[in-house]
C-alpha cells in the first residue's frame, strides 16, 4: 500500500512537470517564439556560469569531506608505495591545473559569448600557431609524466632483492591461502593434479619433493617489517587479484601462470593503528578481480610485525607435511596434538578480528 502510494506520488510529479512544460510551450507561441528563445538563452547562460562556480566549490567541498577517508593522509605502508603517492600528487597537480583552466574557459566562454542582439560571431576557422601550441605543450607535460611513471614502473617490476622473504599466496573461490618455504628457504613443487591427495592437500603440493616437507600452510600472512617481501601468486580456479591497497600493490592471480610482486612493508600493524588512529586497523588483502558470487567476501589479513615476533610466529607453525602425514612427524603424536591446539587458538582469535 505504501509502495503504491509512493508510485502514485512519483507519477503525479511527472504529470505536473509535463503539464508545466506543455503550458510553457503554449506561452512561448503566444509571446512569440523568438522572444522566448532569447529569454531561455539568457537563463541558460546564467545557469552555466552558476554551474561552473558551484561546481568548483563542490569539488573543493568534496575534497574536504573525503580526502581524509582516502589512504593518502596516512601515507603508503610500503617503501615502494611512497613513490606511487608522490607520482599521484604530481599527476593531480598537472591534471588539476588543466582541469580548472579548461572548465573555466569552457563555461566562461559559453556565458560571455552568448547570443546578443546585433552582435556578430568572429569568423576564425584556424590558426596554425595556436594549434601548434596546444599540441606541443600537452606533449611536453605528458613526456614528464611518462618518464616519471616508467622510472617507478621499472623499479617496482624489477626482480625482488635476493634477501627478500618469500611467501606464496594462492587464491581460490573465495579465500586466500599462504605457504611459507620453511627452514630450507625453498617452496616445494606443486602439481594441480595432486589436489586433495592426500585428503586435505588443498594447495596441491607435491609431497614427493623433499623441499616441501618443511613448508608451512597458513591462512594468515605474517610479514617482518622493513624487509623486502616477494609474493609468489597462484590461483586454483579462476583469476583473482591480490590487492594490497595500503602498500599500493596489486597483482593478478592467474591459474596456470604464477606471477610475482615485491615490496617492503614500512610500518607494523601496531604502528598503523597509531598512525591511522583506528584501533581496529588491519592490513587487508582484497580480491580485485571479479571471481564469482563470493568475490566481495574474499578477504585476507596481513600482520606486519617486528622480525623477532615474525620469527616467533614462524617457529610456532607446524609444517603441513606433518599434518597430512602424522606418522612422519618426528615429534610424539600426543605432543603434536597439543602443539596444534596451542597454535590454532590464538590464530582463531586473530582471524575473527579480535
Amino acid at each position: 500500500m505504501k509502495d503504491l502510494f509512493l508510485v502514485a506520488i512519483v507519477v503525479m510529479i511527472f504529470v505536473v512537470i509535463f503539464q508545466i512544460a506543455k503550458a510553457s510551450e503554449y506561452v512561448s507561441v503566444l509571446k512569440g517564439e523568438e522572444k522566448t528563445r532569447k529569454q531561455n538563452n539568457k537563463i541558460n547562460g546564467f545557469l552555466l556560469i552558476c554551474f561552473l562556480i558551484l561546481g568548483l566549490i563542490g569539488a573543493w567541498y568534496c575534497n574536504e569531506l573525503y580526502y581524509g577517508k582516502t589512504l593518502f593522509p596516512q601515507g603508503a605502508a610500503s617503501v615502494e608505495g611512497e613513490k606511487i603517492d608522490l607520482m599521484l600528487y604530481i599527476t593531480i597537480g598537472v591534471t588539476g591545473t588543466v582541469f580548472v583552466i579548461t572548465q573555466i574557459l569552457l563555461f566562461w566562454f559559453a556565458f560571455k559569448y552568448q547570443e546578443q542582439e546585433g552582435k556578430k560571431a568572429f569568423y576564425f576557422p584556424h590558426n596554425n600557431k595556436l594549434e601548434l601550441l596546444w599540441t606541443t605543450v600537452p606533449a611536453i607535460f605528458l613526456t614528464v609524466l611518462v618518464v616519471f611513471g616508467l622510472k617507478y614502473w621499472f623499479k617496482m617490476t624489477s626482480d625482488a632483492p635476493r634477501d627478500a622473504v618469500v611467501v606464496e599466496i594462492t587464491g581460490h573461490q573465495f579465500a586466500w591461502d599462504m605457504r611459507y618455504p620453511g627452514k630450507d628457504g625453498k617452496l616445494g613443487k606443486k602439481n594441480y593434479k595432486l589436489y586433495n591427495t592426500p585428503s586435505g592437500n588443498t594447495l596441491a603440493v607435491d609431497f614427493e619433493d623433499p623441499e616441501s616437507w618443511d613448508d608451512l600452510h597458513t591462512t594468515e600472512m605474517h610479514l617482518p617489517v622493513g624487509k623486502p617481501v616477494k609474493l609468489v601468486i597462484n590461483a586454483m580456479d579462476v583469476i583473482h587479484d591480490v590487492g594490497l591497497s595500503h602498500f599500493r600493490m596489486k597483482m593478478d592471480a592467474v591459474p596456470g601462470i604464477p606471477t610475482t610482486m615485491w615490496f617492503t612493508p614500512k610500518y607494523t600493524t601496531e604502528e598503523m593503528k597509531a598512525r591511522t588512529g583506528n584501533p581496529n586497523f588491519v592490513y587487508e588483502i582484497s580480491c580485485d578481480q571479479m571471481c564469482g558470487k563470493g568475490h566481495f567476501s574474499m578477504r585476507g589479513v596481513i600482520v606486519v610485525e617486528s622480525e623477532a615476533d615474525y620469527n616467533k610466529w614462524l617457529a610456532s607453525q607446524k609444517p603441513e607435511y606433518y599434518t597430512l602425514y602424522p606418522e612422519k612427524d618426528p615429534a610424539k603424536p600426543i605432543q603434536a596434538t597439543d602443539t596444534t591446539k596451542a597454535v590454532t587458538a590464538p590464530m582463531a582469535q586473530v582471524m575473527s578480528g579480535k
Partner: protein, 600 residues
C-alpha cells in the same frame, strides 16, 4: 579522375532508383518493419537503443539499492525477481548478473548500436548527399541481426541459472566454467551467441557506412568538405570493422572451451573440488583478444559523440569549427592509437614490464589529439554568438565531461599509478564520465538536434532543459566522489563492503550516490516520454532549416521520403562551416562560391 566518375554513376543509379521508389506501393511492413530506407532503419536502431537504455539503466538502479544499504530488504524486489531476491534482498549471484548485464547492454546495445546505428544510418546519406546507403539490403539486415542479438540477450535474463554474471569483460576461466559461477552456465552461452549476432550486425553496418562515405558523396563533396560528424562516423566504422572480428574469434574460442573441451584459455584448474584435464592454455590470451576490441570499442562509442558535438558547437556558436583539419587529423590519430593501447587494461596481469612500458607511452600519447580537440572546441566557442538550444547544452556538457573523464585517464594509463588504482572505483568514475556519460551527452545532443529532421516535430524545450540540468549535475554528483572511493582502494564489483575494515567508511556516500542515481534515472524517463510524445504531438517544424545550418540534410523537405531529395541531389560548393563569413550568418554548402567571397 576515376572517383568522380564513380560518384557520378552512383549518383545516377541512386537517382533512378528513387524515382522508381515513388511508384512503389509500400505496405506497413515494408515501410516501418522491414524497411530499407536508411532513415527508418536509423529510427529502429534509436528506439531499440532507448528500450535497452531503460533496461540497462534500471539494472544499475537496482544494484545501487544494494550498495546504498546492504542490510535493507525490499519486499517488492522479491515480487519482481523471485528467488533472485529472496526475502527482498538481492542475492550476490543476481547482483553480479545485473552488473554484468548493465555493462553489456550499455556498452554494446546502447552506446554502440544505439548511437552509431542511429546516427551513422541517419546522417551519412543525408549529409554527404546520397539517396540511401550503398546497400540498403545489408543495412536492413544489420538492424535485424541487432534485433536477433537483442532477443537472445533478453532471453538470457529468463533462464533458470541466470544471465552471464562474470562482468561485461567475461574473463575466463570464470566465464568458461559453469562450476565456477551459475551465470557461466547456459546464460554465458546465450551471451556469446548474442554477441556473435551483434558483431555480424556491426560488421554489416560498418562496411556499409565505409562504402557509402567513400563512394556515394554528391558532386563537389570532397572528403575535406565533409562535416565532422561524417568523419567521426567514418573512423568509428573503420574501428569497428577492424576490431570486432577479433572479439568474435575470442568469443568462438571461448565457446569451444566451454562446450567442446578445448583448452585455449584453461590450464591447471581445480574448480569446485574437480580437477580439470585442461592444460597448456592461457587465461591471459583471452584478455588480449578481448581488449583488442575492448579498447577501440571505447572510441567506437566516443567518436560519434565527438563528431556530433563538433557540428553542434559550431552551428550554435555561429562560427566555423576551429581547426577543421586538426580535428580530422586528431580523429585519425585517435583511430590509429586506439589499436595500440589495449594492454593498458592488463598492467597487473603479470604482463612483461617492458611491454607494459610501451603501452604506457602509446596510451598517454592519446592525450595529445584529445587535448587538441578540447582546445579547438574551446576556441570554437570563443567570440561566438552562442545559442543555447538543448542540443548545444548537451554538447557543452559533453566537452566538460570529456575533460573531466579524460584527465583521469592520465592517472590510469600510467602503469605505476594504475597498480594502485586498477579495478577500483576510480576506474568506474573514469570510464563512466568519459565514455558513458559523455557519449550519452553526445547522443542526447544528436537527438535534440536532428529530431526535427527525423520526425518533423520538435521536442519540448522545457523538458529538454530540465533533462539537461538534472543529468549533468546528477552525473557529476554520482561519479565525482567515486574518485575518492577509488583512491581509498575500494574495489569494483563488490556486493557488500561492510565486512572490510578498509572500505566500510563510505557507507553514507554510497547511499547518497544511489539516491542521485535514482533521480537521474527518473529524469531520463522524462526524456523518453518527451521523445515518444513529441513524435505525434510535438510542435510541428515549419522551417526547412530550423537551426540555420549549412549541411545538406537541411536542404531536404521537412519530412523527406525514401530517396531524400524529391529532385536532383544538390551539388556542393564549399565546406560546411561557413558561419558568420563575410558578414553572412550562414552560407549553406550548396550555395556556389561568389566572385567577391574571401577565402577561408
Amino acid at each position: 579522375m576515376s572517383t568522380t566518375t564513380l560518384q557520378e554513376t552512383a549518383h545516377h543509379t541512386s537517382h533512378g532508383e528513387a524515382h522508381g521508389e515513388q511508384h512503389h506501393h509500400e505496405t506497413f511492413i515494408t515501410k516501418y518493419v522491414f524497411s530499407q530506407d536508411h532513415k527508418t532503419i536509423a529510427k529502429q536502431f534509436l528506439v531499440t537503443g532507448i528500450i535497452w537504455a531503460i533496461i540497462g539503466g534500471l539494472f544499475s538502479v537496482i544494484f545501487r539499492l544494494q550498495l546504498a544499504d546492504p542490510t535493507a530488504t525490499y519486499p517488492w524486489l522479491e515480487d519482481l525477481l523471485g528467488h533472485w531476491a529472496q526475502g527482498g534482498k538481492l542475492q550476490p549471484e543476481f547482483y553480479y548478473a545485473l552488473v554484468t548485464m548493465h555493462g553489456t547492454i550499455l556498452v554494446f546495445f546502447v552506446l554502440t548500436a544505439g548511437l552509431s546505428g542511429t546516427f551513422a544510418n541517419f546522417l551519412i546519406p543525408l549529409q554527404i548527399g546520397a539517396r540511401d546507403m550503398a546497400s540498403p539490403m545489408l543495412n536492413m539486415l544489420s538492424y535485424w541481426f541487432f534485433f536477433l542479438a537483442s532477443i537472445i540477450m533478453m532471453s538470457s535474463l529468463f533462464v533458470q541459472t541466470g544471465p552471464a554474471s562474470g562482468g561485461w569483460t567475461i574473463y575466463p576461466p570464470l566465464s568458461a566454467l559453469g562450476d565456477a559461477s551459475a551465470g557461466s552456465k547456459i546464460g554465458m552461452d546465450l551471451w556469446l551467441v548474442s554477441m556473435a549476432m551483434f558483431i555480424v550486425s556491426s560488421l554489416l553496418g560498418g562496411l556499409n557506412y565505409i562504402t557509402t562515405i567513400l563512394n556515394m558523396r554528391t558532386k563537389g563533396m570532397s572528403m575535406t568538405r565533409m562535416p565532422l560528424t561524417i568523419w567521426a562516423l567514418f573512423f568509428t566504422a573503420v574501428l569497428g570493422v577492424l576490431s570486432f572480428p577479433v572479439l568474435l574469434s575470442g568469443a568462438i574460442l571461448l565457446l569451444f572451451d566451454r562446450n567442446l573441451g578445448t583448452s585455449f584459455y584453461l590450464s591447471d584448474i581445480v574448480v569446485a573440488g574437480k580437477i580439470l584435464p585442461n592444460e597448456g592454455g592461457s587465461a591471459i590470451l583471452f584478455q588480449h583478444l578481448f581488449w583488442f576490441l575492448g579498447h577501440p570499442e571505447v572510441y567506437i562509442i566516443l567518436l560519434p559523440a565527438m563528431g556530433m558535438s563538433s557540428e553542434i558547437l559550431s552551428i550554435n556558436s555561429r562560427k566555423p569549427i576551429f581547426g577543421y583539419m586538426a580535428m580530422v587529423g586528431s580523429l585519425f590519430a585517435i583511430t590509429i592509437l586506439a589499436f595500440l593501447v589495449w594492454a593498458h587494461h592488463m598492467f597487473v596481469t603479470g604482463l612483461n614490464p617492458f611491454l607494459g612500458s610501451v603501452f604506457v607511452l602509446l596510451t598517454l600519447l592519446i592525450a595529445v589529439p584529445s587535448a587538441i580537440k578540447v582546445f579547438n572546441w574551446l576556441t570554437t566557442l570563443w567570440r561566438g554568438n552562442i545559442r543555447f538550444t538543448p542540443a548545444m547544452m548537451f554538447a557543452i556538457g559533453f566537452v566538460s565531461l570529456f575533460i573531466s573523464g579524460g584527465l583521469t585517464g592520465i592517472f590510469l594509463g600510467n602503469s605505476a599509478l594504475d597498480i594502485h588504482l586498477h579495478d577500483t572505483y576510480f576506474v568506474i568514475a573514469h570510464f563512466h564520465i568519459v565514455m558513458g556519460v559523455a557519449s550519452f551527452f553526445g547522443m542526447f545532443a544528436g537527438v535534440y538536434h536532428w529530431y526535427p529532421k527525423m520526425f518533423g516535430r520538435y521536442l519540448n524545450n522545457t523538458l529538454a532543459y530540465i533533462h539537461f540540468w538534472v543529468t549533468i549535475i546528477g552525473a557529476y554528483l554520482i561519479f565525482w566522489p567515486m574518485h575518492y572511493e577509488g583512491l581509498a582502494g575500494m574495489p569494483r564489483r563488490y556486493y557488500d563492503f561492510s565486512n572490510w575494515e578498509s572500505f566500510k567508511n563510505f557507507g553514507g556516500l554510497n547511499q547518497f550516490i544511489s539516491m542521485i542515481a535514482l533521480l537521474v534515472f527518473a529524469v531520463q524517463l522524462l526524456f523518453v516520454f518527451n521523445f515518444f510524445y513529441s513524435i505525434w504531438k510535438g510542435r510541428k517544424v515549419t522551417n526547412q532549416n530550423p537551426w540555420n545550418a549549412n549541411t545538406l540534410e537541411w536542404t531536404t523537405p521537412i519530412r523527406p521520403g525514401h530517396g531524400n531529395w524529391p529532385g536532383d541531389i544538390p551539388e556542393v560548393h564549399r565546406w560546411p562551416y561557413d558561419y558568420s563569413k563575410d558578414g553572412k550568418d550562414f552560407i549553406a554548402q550548396d550555395v556556389p562560391v561568389g566572385a567577391d567571397e574571401s577565402k577561408h
